[in-house]
Amino acid sequence: MTTLMSEPETQETSKPQPADQTAAGSTEDKAVNDSETLIEVKDNFGFNYGSTQVLFDLNLRIPNRKVTALIGPSGCGKSTLLRCFNRMNDLIDGISHTGDITIGGQSIFDPALEIISLRKKVGMVFQKYNPFPKTIYENVVFSLRVSGRNNKALLDETVERSLRRSALWDEVKDRLHESALGLSGGQMQRLCIARAIANEPEVILMDEPCSALDPIATGKIEELIDELKTDYTIVIVTHNMQQATRVSDRTAFFYLGKLIEYGETTKLFTNPQEKRTEDYVSGRFG
């Protein structure tokens, strides 16, 4: 089996140089044209933690109102890239980047851009559900409160809409003013999604949102993602191949900080252009 696999690998590595260059180009013309693009990673985007470079020469376009999955083995930089989109990496000392990322045509590294307004535009759901130690209600309206919107009617309406949207309303409507910490894991994660969409962002970033959940809760979240993509652009990092195939429209495969392959999910999983992609999606390494 290994010998069998080693053959195509050498075959593939015969054209890595052109592939790396054309991969982005080829995916670009394949699907995401300018009008569809919401997030664009361009100018050979690179990212460093101190002197360690973790992302190399990235160029990719993420389409509007689609689910884009970022996959790859641990440490490949997919989460780092995700956290670049709302500049959560800024919390870490000594980071630097090259190239640029635009959202809706505007560079997120523009010195004149308020990071707070960027983060209001780009919501995020974390790997580990992290509701605040407050009531369910206060969790959902947190983003409104920090924006200074305290109108009771608006808040009430937002809570119901967001919780309905995240399929949690029926389960919690009678205990909105109880602590969020009394919910189950899956409910908490859906609450975090409700919290993220309360302020109507354009993009929702999801960093392995189901890794701490059981299969049933995971299923619910996946359904939710499917519904949410009608209104939001979703970028999801996942370790779970099946999840990527189930929820995403497009998939990007990263390996050692480089974008190896990017394209329609079905295509990437059924007919990968790259040997490493094929190895990874078929579970030979990861």
Binding site: K120, G123, N130, P133, V146, N199
Partner: protein, 812 residues
């Protein structure tokens, strides 16, 4: 590889070595013993302190000793020496009967005490047996009374004469054997008023440099006369000391029909009771109209210049009526039965025929002069008081009605001991050292009882209640453990100390808590990690600064600076927060491009110069503010001066002191800030990063994150930090001892000092003799300190657990 086949596992590999088991067992019990030992030690300390303070709340213990049989006769007075070995009884005939008693030094309950030898209920008579002394012959006296304080018997006659007999006891040592010698000293009888005016009542003040004999006499008219004799110490060059007659004063006419008279301890006031049950306070004044030896002894005053003449000399005094009191005005049914001085002759015990016992004392009025008022009252006896004696150590007194005997403590209003005797005591007295009680049926039987009452002035009321002490205008909480004179009564209220402790703590925390918590928040939430790594250990080093150094700095450096610069300090305290907020606002209005010049977490570089500037401006503007606002008229010169130190007392009526609570607040704050900072910083740093991330990702600013997410989540830890700071501040001693005046006052004025429980222990320690009341009162202070911190810590822990439950993050 070759070894592999021959490898055999060690058959003993599952065994545990004895050594491991032994060490495990040893450490197990060692830790257990250690832990239990620590708890036992704390509990032991607690019990020890408790054992030290319980005697403070006990009553007196009285144990009958035995009877001394004197020769049968009618006795009117009795007394005993300080050592309790040579009691006497005497009648109006001037014959003093002494009985020598055996008394041996014994050790009982680790206390050295002298005990009588008793056989069959009778005290064994010593070697010298019984003997008598006679002081006069061929004189008859109607009354005799004995002042146990002055050890002086006063015989008064129907002729208007008074004879004083002093019972002089003194110890004589003969080869370590001590015997008590007694000598009776009497002076020729003094004539008061005119011959033949019978003495109704007499009071003699006997002091070192003064003697006043005051007598109410019948003069055959409607109203009794009031006559006084003054004696003074010779101040002339050739005087041998002792008292010489200065002259007489006739104070009749000021009070209509006086029946009783009492002279106060300074000899400058008479308390006169009239037949209408009114008490009159007469004040002595200098009378210039009296010619002759007016000044009372120039240099040669005693140089034989005073020739005896038949005309009695006049003393240069007159009396002025100041006040009329109706001690039993609210009890029309009751008549005044007796008035007697307590120790020190400052307080009167007035009893009524219905058994009232009221204490009256004088105090200075604001407008000058003394006034007398009732300071305490006891529950009624069943009837009027029959016998009275006062303690010569404290404000206790013994009072009897019929067979009923009570030992009262005037200051606290507490009955220390009471009993019903089998006979009606005709004589009752307290031993000179407040260690004996003596009763006699008047026929020659003297019954002795040991009195064990080491802390009569203590008790719940003394420590925690308002008490009207002699010389004070109203009931107060007072701590004043020692005084200049022997008749001083210790005032041991804990309240000023508790208030002082809380006051110092409050001001320290007011200064420390905002700074420490905000600093902790800044360092954990805003400051870049690089700087936080430097700041935190630095603050921790600050905590290790010895408090004696801080106290020293506070007293010798900070206090004098702050004294003259209060307006500057006020200005700085106002300016720093307002300018900080204003600066933050302006900063937020700057274009993003400008702000990015300063990296996130290093904004303090921009703020520090501004703060420095503001501090400097505040400091320099202070005197100008003083000129503008704190102007006051200097009483000495009548000029307008700008001085906050003078303005504050005038504006608020509270004093301004250099060593004040502001200084303590600052310095104690310095001691407390690092502790609160470190713990609060830890609490906020330990708020899970995912909560901060969640907040930031939702578009909250760093401040919103810190305020809305970090602070509530870390609330339990921050609260604990404040409570630990509180505990430190309450127990802090050196700073308070050095930086305040240690005045035990009860006020919250920021510009006056305080005395804390802890400082009190440190300050009074050298004064406290073992097992004395003060010694135990200091232990009580320690116990209160312990209880204070214990209570606060317990409440804090309950609140902390509640907060922790409320704001706990998702468990990992």
């Amino acid at each position: 590889m070759a070894d592999t086949p021959s490898f055999k596992p060690d058959p003993h590999r599952f065994e545990v070595s004895k050594r491991v088991l032994w060490i495990d067992r040893f450490m197990n019990s060692f830790i257990k013993i250690g832990g239990v030992g620590v708890i036992a030690a704390i509990f032991g300390i607690f019990l020890f302190i408790l054992a030290q303070i319980t005697p403070l709340f006990n009553g007196a213990e009285v144990r009958p000793v035995g009877t001394v049989e004197f020769a049968e006769g009618e006795y009117a007075i009795f007394g005993i020496d300080e050592w309790g070995e040579l009691p006497f009884m005497a009648g109006r005939d001037g014959v003093f009967h002494f009985t020598d008693l055996e008394r041996e030094q014994t050790t009982d309950d680790e206390k050295v005490a002298r005990r009588y030898t008793v056989e069959d209920g009778a005290v064994v008579v010593g070697e010298r047996g019984q003997f008598t002394r006679q002081v006069f012959e061929d004189e008859t006296y109607q009354h005799v009374k004995y002042d146990s304080g002055a050890k002086q018997a006063v015989f008064s006659s129907a002729r208007g004469t008074v004879r004083l007999v002093k019972v002089n006891y003194r110890p004589v040592f003969d080869e370590s054997l001590r015997t008590i010698e007694v000598e009776l000293e009497t002076e020729s009888p003094y004539q008061l008023g005119e011959a033949g005016q019978a003495i109704v009542d007499v009071d003699v003040l006997e002091a070192e440099d003064l003697r006043v004999i005051a007598a109410v006499q019948q003069n055959g008219e409607d109203s009794n006369a009031l006559n006084l004799l003054f004696f003074k110490a010779g101040t002339g060059l050739f005087d041998e000391g002792g008292l010489t007659l200065q002259g007489s004063v006739d104070a009749s006419g000021l009070v209509e029909n006086p029946v009783k008279v009492r002279v106060n301890g300074a000899g400058d006031a008479l308390l006169v009771l009239d037949d209408q049950d009114q008490l009159h306070y007469l004040r002595r004044e200098y009378d210039e109209s009296v010619a002759g030896d007016s000044g009372g002894g120039g240099l040669l005053g005693g140089l034989g210049g005073e020739e005896d003449s038949d005309e009695p000399k006049k003393a240069p005094y007159k009396f002025v009526h100041v006040q009329t009191i109706k001690p039993l005005g609210d009890r029309p049914e009751s008549k005044i039965a007796s008035i007697d001085w307590l120790f020190g002759r400052a307080s009167l015990v007035i009893t009524g025929t219905d058994g009232e016992q009221r204490i009256f004392s004088s105090y200075s009025q604001k407008e000058g002069g003394l006034t007398y008022a009732q300071i305490n009252e006891f529950p009624n006896l069943e009837g009027g008081a029959d016998r009275f004696d006062y303690s010569r150590r404290n404000r206790g007194f013994l009072i009897t009605h019929g067979q009923n005997v009570k030992l009262q403590y005037a200051t606290t209003g507490v009955t220390r001991w009471e009993d019903t005797l089998e006979y009606i005591p005709q004589l009752a007295g307290i031993g000179p050292k407040y260690d004996l009680l003596m009763f006699s049926d008047g026929t020659g039987k003297l019954n002795l009882s040991y009195l064990d009452d080491p802390h009569p002035e203590a008790g719940w009321k003394a420590f925690f209640g308002k008490i009207w002490y002699e010389g004070q205008p109203e009931p107060q909480y007072t701590w004043q453990s020692t005084g200049g004179e022997s008749s001083f009564e210790p005032k041991l209220s804990m309240m000023p100390l508790i208030v002082g402790s809380l006051k110092g703590t409050l001001y320290a925390l007011m200064f420390a808590v905002p700074i420490a918590i905000l600093a902790g928040m800044y360092s954990s939430q805003f400051l870049s990690a690089r700087w936080a790594k430097i700041i935190k250990p630095t603050m921790e080093i600050m905590a290790s600064l010895p408090s004696v150094v801080l106290g020293f700095l506070a007293a010798l450096w900070l206090a004098p600076i702050l004294e003259t610069r209060v307006p500057s300090v006020v200005l700085i305290i106002v300016l720093i927060p307002t300018v900080s907020v204003a600066f933050g606002f302006i900063w937020s209005q700057l274009p993003k491009n400008t702000r990015t010049l300063v990296p996130e977490g290093a904004e303090f570089w921009a703020l520090i110069p501004v703060m420095g500037l503001v501090t400097w401006i505040g400091w320099e503007l202070g005197p100008a503010l003083e000129q503008a606002l704190f102007v006051v008229t200097d009483e000495a010169t009548g000029k307008q001066v700008a001085d906050f130190r003078l303005w504050w007392p005038e504006a608020t009526g509270t004093p301004f002191e250099q060593r004040n609570s502001l200084v303590v607040g600052f310095m104690m704050g310095f001691a407390v800030i690092p502790i609160i900072f470190t713990i609060a910083e830890d609490a906020m740093s330990n708020v899970p990063i995912y909560l901060r991330s969640a907040s930031l990702a939702l578009g909250a600013s760093r401040w919103q994150t810190a305020w809305r997410v970090v602070l509530p989540t870390a609330a339990a830890g921050i609260f604990a930090a404040v409570m630990i700071g509180f505990g430190r501040a309450v127990g802090e001693t050196m700073i308070v001892v050095m930086a305040t005046g240690n005045t035990p006052i009860m006020e919250w004025n920021i510009f006056s000092g305080m005395r804390t429980l802890a400082a009190n222990i440190a300050v009074e320690l050298p004064e406290a003799a073992q097992h004395s009341t003060l010694y135990r009162a200091l232990f009580l202070g320690a116990m209160l300190l312990f209880l204070l911190t214990f209570t606060v810590n317990t409440i804090a822990e309950v609140i902390r657990q509640h907060l922790r439950g409320k704001y706990k993050a998702v468990s990992d």
